[in-house]
Symmetry: C2
Amino acid sequence: DKMKKVAVLAGDGIGPEVMAEAVKVLDVAQKKFDFTLSYDYADVGGIAIDNHGEALPASTLTLCENSDAILFGSVGGPKWESLPPEQQPERAALLPLRKHFDLFCNLRPARVFKSLTSACPLRADIIKDGFDILCVRELTSGIYFGTPKGREGEGPDERAYDTMAYKRSEIDRIARMAFDAARLRSKKVTSIDKANVLTTMVLWRQVVIEVAKEYPDVELAHMYVDNATMQLVRDPHQFDVMLCGNMFGDIISDESAMLTGSMGLLASASLNKEKFGLFEPAGGSAPDIAGKGLANPIAEILSASMMLRYSFGLDAAADAIDNAVEATLEKGIHTADIAIDPTRTVNTAAMGDAIASAL
Amino acid sequence: DKMKKVAVLAGDGIGPEVMAEAVKVLDVAQKKFDFTLSYDYADVGGIAIDNHGEALPASTLTLCENSDAILFGSVGGPKWESLPPEQQPERAALLPLRKHFDLFCNLRPARVFKSLTSACPLRADIIKDGFDILCVRELTSGIYFGTPKGREGEGPDERAYDTMAYKRSEIDRIARMAFDAARLRSKKVTSIDKANVLTTMVLWRQVVIEVAKEYPDVELAHMYVDNATMQLVRDPHQFDVMLCGNMFGDIISDESAMLTGSMGLLASASLNKEKFGLFEPAGGSAPDIAGKGLANPIAEILSASMMLRYSFGLDAAADAIDNAVEATLEKGIHTADIAIDPTRTVNTAAMGDAIASAL
Ligand SMILES: CC(C)[C@H](C(=O)O)[C@@H](O)C(=O)O
Ligand SMILES: CC(C)[C@H](C(=O)O)[C@@H](O)C(=O)O
């Protein structure tokens, strides 16, 4: 049976606009590659706070549980910025979803599209003809979820604390994902840590070295996180797969994404061991341009492609979508966020149309 | 009494070479500005491990205690890389020194030298005529020093953990340093945190907001650390003072340093509340070029200038050294690390001579 149920959580800001284009492209792909998706829409983030009083309502969570994958838009905006930190839509929607479904493996590709190298913020002689990095980030442990955390004491001695922690098994499973991914790419893993300061990262490095023994065909390097932020700027080509814990992955993946110059083009996948996943653009909800037809739908379309590839094993359809995106960009068609040729700028829907017809 | 005692810890790699040039420049400055320094040399880092069995021998620590400031070179190298993480020269020398002298305030300027804008890795239209950021990093608390930390359990459940923690008083004092510094610059503080995830960072943001009330003339912005690594690449001019905790400051200051394209030119100061301080180049010991006369002495010379300014209040002498460095670079004289004009390249000692005579 080829029918797959997709929970569509478009969220706030540009989320609904870009989601419409992803669904448009998925619809064409279904016909062409003979598979069937059913879409169930639910509220998440700020709109869920407005409609249901919480960023991740029980009804939305139930819908996700009954689905084969989650296609996510983006959440948050100025309307909800005055809420306390733990109720902010991004945190209150994303962190529980990641934990609930044990989505420990976050894949964040940061690649430069050939036709867009001139949009990269790095000097042309550094960027050359682009780079292609895959950040493999652990997503359900580390300092994001470690306990105890809290506040105690009063006055100047009041103290707040968090716990960074990793179990051997948690490091082992994410390391394997990184090495497996590297095998399908340029066969190099750079593990990012801070083993010179953090006890957690000493164990991290040990376990990564042990896992690497099972992948003698993959080259392994270790790099301190501070150095990694420098090396990304100095020479991004040295990286293939970057393996990171939760906190460092948050930082490294954002820096790499910005270095591509293509924030509106980058997708991500968050997977559990059953390959159930949440697929979302790397960028945010961009409330300043929401509703204006200015948003770039490519990140959402490529997230949909990652869903087909990683959760549904529909590699041919995923490849076709990726190629359609690339071909459309090569024709010089793009949205206004890409500062290449203002005369070729189209709106969100026209961009989706162009990709759908290239498919 | 104008006589000041300086503990000179040159360390490993290029440390001794660049230190010799800093002392050369300080000697000229003493004559010109009528103050007296006495230098006491001691081992630190790898050479101290070789000579005394530990990276920070008690004799070195005693010398520092009896001095008015520490001028530090750099430590570490391949010879000591196989030592366990906690015995690595960098960590085993620097962290105890920072803690012992309560050097909570780490100042890391990242500025582009006018004559060297073309060395920046960012596109010319982004870098424009340079940027000037001061990273104010908390250096004696946070996850670097939080307890408990350790390892427990066995097999796949073996777990390693660290504690990130801040007390209100610790945040308060570093925030004041940032606002004070901003008053002497462009009057803007951007506080870097991850208040959307970390309890420690919620307190961080609260205290920074409270301190800011006493500085109504200084603008305050908050930025999540992941976004900050992107914004540094996209538009470094938006920053004046970046206020960071220990871990995020490690990352942010290294990224900013690399963005200037001038790793061999950047100095740093680590101060306690009595203005006792440790002054060191931002770059490392560069063992690959050690002993070849290739190292750029400017970072060490500017660190010496920061010592005069921050520990000894000798602002006129510090200004003169800074200007001499700038003037020498403007003449087109530079070491080989600066990829501007290979025909004007000089060696370490000649660079020191040029700056000393510009003084
Ligand atoms: C919104 C926030 C909690 C989240 C994170 O820190 O993981 C975001 O920055 C991300 O990278 O997906
Ligand atoms: C060597 C290391 C312990 C140190 C740190 O992480 O603070 C270094 O990276 C620095 O920034 O001074």
